[in-house]
């Protein structure tokens, strides 16, 4: 049974990513949405927290914030809202770290 974790807050603003990344286990996936996408920028300190995790980022939220995909850490999958829906379906449940 795998969980989809949603983080929507900037890692520099709230502890949601810290808690989410430290509680994720096994086959869980992390999807960064809204301000949460900033965590995936490779030059930022928060990127280190994503090491070893299955990370996806919502493309429209990246584009809105002017973050080019070339700025992201390696191994991150960029999805659109349809992909977001697929991730919800592929996991047993969703944990929104608000």
């Amino acid at each position: 049974m795998a969980m989809l974790h949603l983080v929507n807050k900037s890692p520099y603003d709230a502890c949601s990513l810290d808690t989410a990344s430290s509680i994720m286990k096994g086959d869980d996936s992390l999807l960064l949405i809204e301000d949460g996408v900033y965590a995936a920028v490779k030059s930022g300190k928060a990127a280190a927290r994503l090491a070893g995790l299955k990370v996806s980022v919502l493309g429209p939220d990246l584009a809105a914030r002017g973050i080019g995909e070339d700025k992201l850490i390696d191994g991150v999958t960029v999805v659109d809202y349809a992909g977001f829906v697929d991730m919800v379906e592929a996991n047993d449940k969703v944990q929104s770290w608000l």
């Binding site: 349809a82 977001f84 829906v85 449940k93 969703v94 929104s96």
Partner: protein
């Protein structure tokens, strides 16, 4: 997949009302069933018909009403949260002595049991909030 969506924030203040809308729309386009969209906390403010956003900006309330109409969605605004924040339909106006109503098309006011029922009946509960 049968989904219940929970929206915790009001329109414009926080992106979650938008994220919830686009997620819901994408799920419908993929042929999934939306059992219910439940508006809680400040999310009830998505259900007022009195907003006048700038012409060049999205109309969040109308967007929800149109999506509900197109797909026959059940969009529920929590009664307790609505009472606190002044979202009123005819029933609530009568019960609580209010001289106006403001509920937008496609929304209905009902109890928290609707959220719980949604969670029981659906395959997934997806929460959008702050």
């Amino acid at each position: 997949m049968k989904l219940t969506i929970q929206v915790n924030e009001g329109p414009y203040q926080h992106q979650s009302a938008d994220s919830a809308y686009f997620f819901t729309k994408a799920a419908l386009e993929k042929g999934h069933e939306i059992f219910r969209v439940f508006f809680y906390h400040d999310g009830v403010n998505n259900g007022t018909r009195l907003t006048t956003p700038p012409q060049d900006d999205r109309n969040i309330v109308n967007r929800w009403s149109e999506l509900a109409k197109e797909h026959n969605l059940d969009m529920v605004v929590c009664v307790a949260a609505a009472q606190r924040r002044g979202i009123v339909d005819d029933g609530e106006a009568q019960r609580n002595g209010k001289d106006a109503t403001n509920i937008a098309d496609g929304f209905r006011i009902s109890g928290l049991g609707q959220l719980v029922e949604g969670a029981i009946q659906s395959d997934r509960l997806v929460v959008f909030g702050d």
